[in-house]
Amino acid sequence: MVNVRVFVTYKQSVFDPQGDTITKTVHTIGHPEVESVKVGKFFDLSLDTMPDQIDTVVKDIATKLLVNFNMETYTYQVLGD
């Protein structure tokens, strides 16, 4: 079993209202050095697949279901067994 974490965020060109609000609050609590905060979500997938198939499987699920490329983009990371 392999665990994979897929991160989905808004594209750079899409306004992230939550991130904008949180950034302002981060400044309020005394961290003006923080230029921006982006909010996203993650999906943890437990896969029963061969390691060389992980990329194909994750890409297929991400592109068909997890991500709307009109406004979002994604990355993923293999967390290990």
Partner: protein, 225 residues
């Protein structure tokens, strides 16, 4: 006489409003169709109601687009038959790729529930021929994920092909790019909009500005049939 399907998804909550607008107010032959059904044979048009299909899990409309009924909805759209989605129905139509762009969380972060002024940008559609071009109407909105986004290229194409049908007038309640409230596909037979015309069809409820959308469709559908 047209026969219209109203699709019911788990979490739909404006299906009855659509049904009553068509049946009780417009006296049309209308039937509820479950998301589990696989065919829309015998129907002349299909409507996807507002609500929160599958609890808006992941993204609004993203789960509903994979239900059994959706290939039949796509088939009707590709056959040139009228397909209409309001609110969550609009979100499902974009997720299904029948309309360009996407609906994201309102820029103001809040669920917005109020009546807003709209401009009828294009009255040369199956759904808007009973309106005047540039006419101002008022329709209710009730959504958290109504901010229309698309690439600049897509937005330009929408304008070039007269696919923007409704724009928010005076104020933009959700941050939608170019104040877009409703669009059609390039062929003009698929309309998606965030406002709820089905909630504005009876004078006793204070607003009939949505009625002409259904009257337009019935007139054009009957003439074409």
């Amino acid at each position: 006489m047209m026969k219209i399907a109203v699709v019911v998804f788990p979490g739909s909550n404006c299906d009855v409003d659509l049904y009553e607008a068509l049946h009780t107010v417009c006296h049309v032959d209308v039937e509820y169709v479950s998301h589990r059904a696989t065919s829309l044979d015998g129907f002349d048009a299909v409507m996807l109601p507002g609500g929160f299909s599958y609890g808006d899990y992941m993204r609004s409309g993203a789960i509903a687009r994979f239900t059994n009924i959706m290939p039949a909805v796509v088939k009707m759209a590709h056959a040139g038959k009228p397909v209409f989605g309001t609110c969550n129905g609009f979100q499902i139509l974009t997720e299904a790729g029948l309309l360009p762009g996407a609906l994201k969380h309102n820029n103001g972060q809040k669920f917005v529930c109020k009546t807003v002024p709209l401009e009828v940008v294009n009255n040369q559609t199956l759904f808007t021929s009973e309106y005047q071009v540039h006419e101002r109407i008022n329709l209710p909105i009730a959504h958290a994920d109504g901010c229309y986004v698309a690439s600049q290229q897509t937005l330009d194409q929408l304008e070039d092909h007269h696919q923007v049908v409704f724009r928010y007038a005076d104020e933009n309640p959700n941050g939608s790019l170019r104040n877009i409230a409703g669009i059609t596909n390039e062929q003009g037979n698929v309309l998606g909009m965030m406002p709820h015309p089905e909630r504005a069809v009876e004078a006793i409820l204070g607003n009939t500005d949505g009625l002409r959308l259904f009257k337009s469709l019935l007139f054009n559908g009957t003439v074409k049939a």
